[in-house]
């Protein structure tokens, strides 16, 4: 479909919650790469009668491209051998690429599989600034989806120095510069201060609480959160700070999570993979669900948003900048383990994993995620993710949707899992809620788009990007969401009758805030003293 072409998607049942459309039969008109209000009646039609029409899916948090993702890929030859992907046959003889799947698919396969799932936008959630050039090169080889990068901050030595020196205004300039230099979309904070401690090799290998000093008494997780959240909000970034709290995966981490939320009271902030941060209990004494405490706080604070980070049973690859956590997981599982300390900035840890129904902790994690979903009052602020591939592959989203929409199915699953740690879980009270299609449309597209500040994504109003997914109205919602009939990306029909037919390049989503050039003078000095790459070669911009 050429840029000027027109298409009328006619007679479908439309779910466009951002525009208040809840299951109405109506047409959706596309001209070029945009949605338009109306088109002449003689334009080509796509008959969507009896089908369900939604905006293209928007993944707010996934790990799909860049240095740590590729380290993970390299670690998984068995998975790739077990899931070969021949090149799809595209229309007009266009070139397609073969690849491999598993929990971390090759880049081309990643693009094809997202599109095949009806997703047209995804955010790469953890890009080390030093390796940003790598992340963008991989995204250049990831077709169809529009993608943006979250750049890692919060353990970087330059930032920590500014906090020690009380140079808060300079932090803002630095953040603005870094976002532009790395072509990033948002700020990601991972285990603030904890990775710096892990790398320092001291007796303290991680941060235990948000007021632990990191090197200096003036640097704490609390301070890092406050300053970076403030910077993002002052710079009016479309997405606020995207926070992975301290103590991921630890029993009793609910205290840290709530303290982190309280530390930012009144400020916009996004808390990611909340499931991994909602545990009661105590180290050495077992775990329990604290989902209720966490979600009640979120429900009561409209400035906060979250994605769930649901755990799904089956294979996963845990992969995070939170390197000390991965060392713990390595020690407790004895599986393969990758650690890469990244100079002056951040870390990276990887352990392949599998969540089993019969494993008590995995079952608890599964339950905590579902509780968060089912107790969330505002779907616009609590959206879907599995922290792909950490809690499970993005390919498991349809199964997750079914768990949310179908109580009978959910209760059957519940009976099969190990409930040893379920004491106090709201799931045992028989949560009756079933998500509606409109709510699913919110947590998988309209909500993430709004939280990301992507004004032309996640809805079907005039001027929106022509990203549209059309599903057969199958009563098994897992099947329905796994196999969309048609997917349109930027006006191009990429999936037709369930087959991938076109694979145009995706666009990059990035911000470029203004900054005072004085900061680069100071940065150059810092680079001169400590860095092992030239300031002029840093970042992801093309060089002269």
């Amino acid at each position: 479909m050429s840029a000027a072409s027109r298409l009328r998607i006619s007679g479908g049942t439309v779910y466009d919650p951002a525009n208040g459309v809840d299951g109405e039969v109506r047409d959706v008109c596309i001209e070029g790469d945009r949605i338009v209000v109306e088109l002449p009646s003689n334009v080509p039609r796509l008959d969507a009668r009896g089908m369900i029409v939604m905006p293209g899916g928007v993944d707010i948090h996934a790990h799909i491209a860049g240095s740590s993702v590729n380290q993970g890929r390299r670690l998984l030859p068995e998975e790739h051998a077990a899931d070969p992907v021949p090149a799809p046959r595209l229309a007009d003889g266009a070139i397609a690429r073969s690849g491999t799947g598993g929990t971390i698919p090759s880049t081309f396969t990643t693009g094809y599989r997202y599109a095949g799932l009806g997703y047209t936008t995804a955010m790469e959630a953890a890009v080390a600034p030093l390796a940003a050039r790598h992340a963008h090169a991989e995204l250049d080889d990831t077709p169809i989806i529009d993608a943006g990068c979250f750049v890692l901050l919060g353990n970087d030595d330059y930032l920590l120095r500014q906090l020690v020196a009380g140079e808060l205004a300079r932090v803002r300039q630095y953040v603005a510069w870094l976002l532009g230099a790395t072509r990033a979309y948002a700020i990601k904070i991972v285990n603030p201060g904890g990775i710096a401690r892990w790398k320092s090799g001291g007796a303290e290998r991680n941060v235990g609480g948000i007021d632990d000093p990191v090197g200096s008494s003036s640097v704490t997780a609390r301070k890092i959160l406050e300053v970076l959240a403030g910077a993002a909000n002052t710079l009016e970034l479309p997405h606020p700070v995207h926070i992975h709290c301290n103590n991921l995966g630890q029993p009793g981490n609910v205290a840290t999570t709530l303290q982190s939320m309280q530390a930012l009271a009144g400020q916009r902030a996004h808390f990611t993979h909340l499931q991994f941060h909602s545990y009661g209990g105590e180290r050495g004494k077992g775990w329990k669900s604290a989902a209720r405490d966490v979600i009640e706080h979120v429900n009561a604070h409209p400035e906060i948003s979250a994605d769930v980070g649901q755990v799904m049973f089956g294979p996963a690859t845990t992969l995070t900048a939170d390197a000390p956590v991965e060392h713990l997981l390595y020690t407790s599982t004895g599986r393969k383990w990758v650690n890469v300390d990244s100079e002056l900035e951040t870390g990276c840890g990887i352990v392949p994993y599998a969540y089993r129904e019969q494993a008590a902790v995995a079952a608890l994690q599964w339950a905590v995620g579902l509780e968060l979903f089912l107790l969330a009052r505002d779907p616009w602020r609590v959206v879907l993710s599995t922290d792909h591939p950490n809690g499970g592959s993005f390919l498991s989203y349809p199964q997750l949707i079914r768990l949310l929409m179908d109580r009978t199915y959910r209760d059957e699953q519940l009976k099969r899992v190990n409930q040893k740690m379920f004491a106090g879980s709201a799931l045992l009270d028989g949560l009756a809620r079933e998500y509606t299609l409109s709510e699913i449309a919110i947590i998988t597209r309209a909500g993430p788009a709004r939280l990301l500040g992507l004004t032309t994504k996640g809805h079907l109003g005039a001027g929106a990007d022509a990203d549209v997914t059309i599903y057969a109205d199958h009563p098994d919602r897992a099947q329905m969401f796994a196999t969309p009939r048609h997917v349109i990306k930027g006006g191009t029909i990429v999936v037709e009758e369930g087959q991938l037919r076109r694979a145009p390049a995706g666009r990059r989503l990035a911000v470029r805030p203004e900054y005072d050039a004085a900061v680069t003078k100071d940065l150059k000095r810092f680079f001169q003293d400590y860095a092992c790459v030239s300031f002029e070669n840093y970042g992801a911009e093309p060089v002269s």
Partner: protein, 416 residues
């Protein structure tokens, strides 16, 4: 500075895997007069930058278009083609090359098969690693395991591991303890503060004993291993240990068991302290080939597209397929000088298409030879340092065709 003199700063050298990006290249009359900050190896890699690129078809000079047509014809006719990536390619060229391999249903391999031992060990066990700059910032104990970087990685110790001051090493070398482990004739640096000798036949056992010691187990009280036990204790007592080994020690490939034992020792050291294993890699963007192969196919080298999708064939590898007569044509991309001897021998009797720097003079006498410039000197793009840190390339001279451009033209002809 005269009009005929020009300078390009912040140039990345690909003379070895250190990828020093602080080079100032001074050009006089379109020749490289000086590569400031580069070591002797780097200066030799830059050379004077002059090239007389040739295009040859069956030995005769030919126009570029004709060469590309003939290359496409030969590759299309092949039943079982090999696409082989040598050194001195940008990631952009490597991406084009993998696309061609995919389209041709080829066996795809690269110079990284020479580093197979370390790559495969890391696939079995993972690895505890760090970028080189982090070694600079943190490492207070540095152990060179049977390697002295002076010859093949000349600025490694001055830029990264030993001399420079870092966050936790404010006095540079004086903040660190450097220990050389001499494994037979494979000796560590001569200026190390301490030395430990390991007989080559004892290398695996010594590593096993060290790991046991780190884990608080007693594996042996044999006199032979006393120094290994002591070394392990010394490493455990460090604040941040760097264990440095050579991933491409030369003609003889590294021992797979030793490669794995180094990985597991470094991992184990992260219980009592912190430790990173540094695996030294050669120049010409070798690590870039692994990275690009991995993101496009899921495998870092030895990828066979014959079934219509990527499969992993680290054993037997491309050299063995050549020796077995399985391959009937090859596309060789990059500097022929970096092609290992057994590969070059295997290519000699084959119909080959070669695209890269000075391929018209390649020992394996390509049927079609298309000379290009050298990535990093005549061609821009991206390259990876040995620790996977991506760096931009700043071409200082233009003129010869680029490998990425030539490969794109070939792809168009092959409908890839």
């Amino acid at each position: 500075m005269s009009a005929a003199t020009r300078r390009v700063e912040h140039v990345t050298c690909l003379g070895c895997g250190c990828a020093c990006d602080d080079i100032t290249v001074v050009l006089q009359h379109d020749r490289i007069g000086e590569a400031r900050n580069a070591c002797a190896l780097g200066a030799a890699w830059f050379g004077d930058g002059t090239m007389t690129p040739d295009v040859r078809v069956h030995g005769r000079t030919a126009p570029l278009e004709q060469a590309l047509d003939e290359a496409a014809r030969l590759l299309r006719a092949a039943q079982r083609p090999l696409v082989y990536l040598a050194a001195d390619l940008s990631c952009e060229a490597q991406r084009e090359a993998v696309a061609l391999g995919d389209r041709l249903g080829a066996m795809l391999d690269s110079v990284s098969s020479g580093a197979a031992a370390g790559i495969l060990a890391a696939q079995r066990r993972g690895r505890a690693a760090a970028t080189l700059g982090e070694i600079r910032q943190r490492a207070d104990v540095i152990v060179f395991w049977g390697t002295d970087p002076a010859e093949r990685y000349p600025r490694f110790t001055s830029r990264y591991a030993v001399e420079p001051q870092g966050l936790q090493t404010p006095e540079g070398r004086r903040s660190r303890t450097v220990i050389a482990v001499d494994v037979g004739a494979r000796r560590g640096p001569g200026d190390a503060a301490a030395r430990v000798a390991v007989a080559p036949g004892d290398e695996m056992d010594a590593l096993g004993v060290m790991r046991a010691t780190v884990q608080g187990r007693v594996a042996t009280d044999h006199e032979r291993f006393r120094s290994a036990v002591e070394l392990a204790r010394r490493m455990s007592a460090g604040r941040y240990v760097a264990l440095v080994a050579d991933g491409e020690p030369g003609a003889a490939p590294a021992d797979p068991d030793v490669a794995e034992a180094l990985v597991t020792l470094a991992q184990a050291l992260n219980a009592p302290t912190r430790c990173a294993l540094v695996v030294l890699r050669g120049g010409g963007n070798r690590s870039g080939a692994d990275a690009v192969f991995t993101w496009q196919t899921g495998f870092p080298f030895a990828v066979d597209f014959a079934p219509g999708y990527p499969t992993y064939r680290p054993q037997p590898g491309a050299v063995a397929l050549l020796a077995a007569g399985e391959i009937d044509a090859a596309l060789v991309i990059g500097s022929p000088a970096s092609v290992p001897e057994p590969m070059a021998t295997g290519l000699a009797p084959l119909v080959t298409v070669a695209i890269g720097p000075r391929v018209s003079a390649a020992s394996f006498k390509p049927a079609v030879a298309l000379d290009t410039g050298i990535a990093g000197i005549h061609e821009g793009g991206t390259a990876f340092r040995m620790d996977d840190v991506p760096l931009p390339l700043r071409p200082v001279l233009t003129g010869p065709p680029t490998a990425a451009g030539a490969l794109r033209s070939l792809r168009e002809r092959l409908g890839a």
